[in-house]
Amino acid sequence: MTNYLEVRNLSKRFGDFSALGDVSLDVVEGEFVCFLGPSGCGKTTLLRAIAGLDPQTSGTIRQKGRDVSALPPAQRDFGIVFQSYALFPNLSVTDNVGYGLVSRRQNRAAILKRVTELLALVGLPDAGPKYPAQLSGGQQQRVALARALATSPGLLLLDEPLSALDARVRLRLRHEIKALQRTLGVTTIMVTHDQEEALTMADRIVVMNHGAIEQVGTPQEIYRRPATAFVADFVGSMNFLAGTLMAPDKVRVAGVDFDCPVQAGLAPGQKVSLCIRPEDVRVRDLPADIVNRVPVEVAELDFVGAFCRATLRAQAAADVALTADFSSNLIRDLGVDIGTKLDIALPPDRLRVFA
């Protein structure tokens, strides 16, 4: 696997404000990468630097082995789709999609053939003669995608392409964009602040915060093994229990020691957070000798559709609370209700510890 894009020590300052600090990143050819992070963390800044639209203050970018760091956007190889779509309102869909082809001196018939092909590809075979204002938001987004793909760029950049759409359209387009990307095999970077979008679409996710990369990994890695407390908190739900590291594999919370994976980087005696996701809390069929067993009482039970989110308080220490997801079956089988007392276990392999 070769690196298609290599970003090295990229920094970007706006006056005194550092929007990107020393960011390095590799993107493999054909990969779908998502930049994920809260609003204002520098995702767009990084994307625009890669495109050359707002060049970095320092650092280098290599695309397909070529140093493009100092090249203007017109000399780089990319297609881009903006949140606003930036479709040309006075041109028909056909002219929009063919916009980049006309200047390549192809003949009209060839351009028309390519446009037809692209419109079929994005599922809008009949939209050609229409104007953007006559299309729905989702359709406009597909036209923007077709226009960006028309010149067969090596790199596709998408900046929050779905966030202006309503929820149902967004869900459908997620799958369509992902399928299209897989068919074409075009290396793609998408910016989003929606973790679900990133988790379902990306081959790899780049989690960013305050102009720096927190973690790079597959959706499973990001979700299962968040590298930092920020990632743990930002992606999915997570319980944070304040405790102290007693031994490399023991954390004490409210006077009780919990077994956890061996922590190499942390010193015993250090204040830490013991973390577990709500769906990883075990309730059913606990063996008698199971570790990390905690007797709790159900304090709240919130119905969220497919499951219930329960707030549990330790019987021994009422100020220690954590949430757990209980399936409807489990609630029925065990007769769980507010005030119910039961034992839970925190499986050591599902526990994460952060300083």
Partner: protein, 562 residues
């Protein structure tokens, strides 16, 4: 977003180079059209008649000549009184247009704009017919005379009214209905709502309107010329010094004195407007006035009265132009429209005006729109773009007479390679475009800011040269704004007197200037006729614009339809 960030030099694409070259060219053009003439004017004030440097001698002599200094005081007086009358009047009128249920609103709105289409000497002429030595209502004045401050103020009110009304209509139109609902729910009295919601909302509009009116009066020349009598103001002083006495140095000094208040008003306006935050957020609910009998009746009567006054003045000028021999023979005739009898140029001056206005509209619109686009869209290059921005705003602060005077000094200098332009139609066009540059530049910039900012990024990614996106997408989308600029330039070129009065040659005399000359020679009826022809032409062009906007461009712009 500076490209010249320390530590990294980004290469420039062909587009970047082209656009930067465009910005440099634009800055150069504006420098020649504005900066250098004003500089020449400034320098002239420090020279004696033979061009020798004399330091502040001219200024000292100016301020120690009581008659000249009195003119400055007179100008301030007229401007203050007019502002005090026009702004409340225009506020009520704008309030009626935006906040009450007015029958035939569009008609009242249209009538309020009429003065814009007339040269400023038209109200002066109409007043002479009504109250002059031979006037219809002369008796009403008793011993008083319309020639002097009274006449100037009345004519100025007519001339400035639409400018103030336009600004205040815009200020009052952008109201958030939710604020009024909230005030209602809280049980605030009508008076309280007016003073706590309506007035503060229009505050910046009021300040702006007052400053605009003040500047217009300070710098206008036509009215004081026609009806000022012995009441001298700065603008007529400049004219007398330069045309009458050929004292260019003193003319330059008076020009600088005239420039000061205009520039000051402009600066104050800029500072105030900067403080203004957008009152109308995207989620604001526009206010739709509900009928209320007593209020609506009052404002309808008020608007009727104001409209009647405007129409009376226009009507008087028209009638006067059609009368055989005022006031002895009131039978109608078209003789006064045979301009050859009154001015050697005859109808030529009218056609010169039309040609000049067309030239200014075409050249000016292309320059202003392309210039605004270059300045908005060029990547990096902050310094040079700042220079262009400054030069583009400069004309707003410079009275036409002052600019025209600067043109004499700059373009007539024998060692200036652009000397060939002097006394041609070209210099009139260039001068007019420069004089009205700011509004066109602002209109274009506003339109450009409203379209998607990523068009250039998209074309760069598609490897389409940026100028192609300019001609194929940006300019067509901005067509309404482009036409607005063109019409604005045409109308102003037709009516302007002040800056071109120094610059015409015998064969390039304009209608507005010819009207001044004819009036000066004592044939008021023919001057009125020429003014009427100008009003009809510019109003017809504006009407054609509105009709075309309604029917033709709707078809041209199908893409706007959903």
């Amino acid at each position: 977003m500076s490209l010249a960030v320390p530590g990294l030099r980004i290469g420039l694409s062909r587009d970047d180079l082209m656009m930067r070259a465009g910005v440099v060219l634009l800055a150069g053009l504006l420098l020649v059209m504005l900066g250098l003439p004003l500089w020449a004017l400034l320098a002239k004030g420090f020279e004696d008649r033979d061009g020798k440097f004399v330091g502040l001698a001219n200024y000292i002599s100016y301020f120690s000549t009581p008659a000249l200094f009195q003119s400055a005081l007179n100008s301030l007086q007229v401007a203050s009184i007019t502002t005090a009358i026009v702004v409340p009047l225009a506020f009520l009128y704008a309030y009626a247009l935006t906040r009450t249920v007015l029958p035939m609103r569009w008609l009242f709105q249209g009538i309020s704009l009429i003065p814009i289409f007339a040269p400023s000497l038209l109200p002066g002429i109409a007043l002479i017919y009504l109250f002059g030595t031979q006037g219809f209502f002369k008796a009403l004045l008793g011993d008083g005379s319309i020639y002097g401050i009274d006449g100037i103020v009345i004519a100025q009110v007519f001339y400035c009214f639409p400018h103030a009304t336009l600004i205040l209509t815009t200020a009052l139109a952008t109201a958030d209905a939710r604020l009024y609902e909230a005030a209602d729910v809280l049980g605030a009295s009508k008076r309280r709502v007016f003073f706590t919601v309506t007035l503060p909302g229009a505050k910046y509009g009021l300040i702006s309107a007052a400053l605009v009116v003040f500047t217009l009066v300070m710098t206008d020349f036509g009215i004081a010329k026609v009806i000022g009598g012995n009441f001298n103001v700065l603008a007529t002083d400049v004219y007398k010094k330069v045309i009458g006495q050929q004292d260019f140095s003193m003319g330059a000094v008076v020009g600088m004195v005239l420039l000061a208040p205009a520039a000051l008003a402009f600066l104050v306006d800029r500072l105030v407007q900067r403080k203004q935050v957008a009152l109308l957020t995207a989620r604001a609910v526009p206010l739709v006035p509900r009928p209320k009998f007593a209020r609506d009746l009052f404002f309808t009567l008020f608007c009727l009265l104001v409209s009647a006054a405007i129409l009376a003045i226009l009507g008087m000028a028209i009638w006067g132009s059609l009368i055989k021999y005022w006031p002895y023979n009131l039978s109608l005739t078209l003789d006064n429209y045979d301009f050859a009898k009154f001015d050697s140029n005859g109808w030529d001056s009218y056609w010169n005006s039309v040609r000049m206005a067309l030239g200014a509209a075409v050249f000016g619109t292309v320059l202003m729109f392309t210039g605004a686009w270059l300045n908005e869209k060029t990547r990096g290059f902050g310094m040079m773009r700042g220079v262009v921005q400054f030069l583009a705003f400069l004309p707003m602060a410079v009275p036409g007479l002052v600019l025209g005077l600067g043109y004499i000094f700059f373009f007539n200098a024998p060692n200036n390679p652009l000397n060939f332009l002097y006394a041609t139609m070209g210099i009139l066009v260039v001068n007019t475009v420069a004089h009205f540059y700011t509004v066109g530049h602002l209109t274009a910039t506003t339109a450009l800011k409203q379209i998607d900012p990523e068009f250039e990024a998209v074309s760069a990614s598609l490897k389409v040269p940026v100028w192609r996106t300019f001609t194929r997408v940006t300019a067509p989308i901005c067509l309404p704004a482009i036409l607005d600029i063109a019409i604005y330039l045409f109308v102003n070129a037709m009516t302007t007197v002040s800056s071109v009065i120094f610059l015409y040659a015998p064969d390039t005399k304009l209608a507005s200037v010819a009207a001044v000359n004819i009036e000066e020679a004592g044939t008021t009826a023919a001057a009125a006729a020429l003014c009427v022809v100008i009003v009809l032409t510019s109003a017809a062009v504006k009407a054609a614009h509105l009709i075309a906007d309604r029917f033709l461009f709707a078809r041209l712009q199908v893409w706007r339809r959903r």
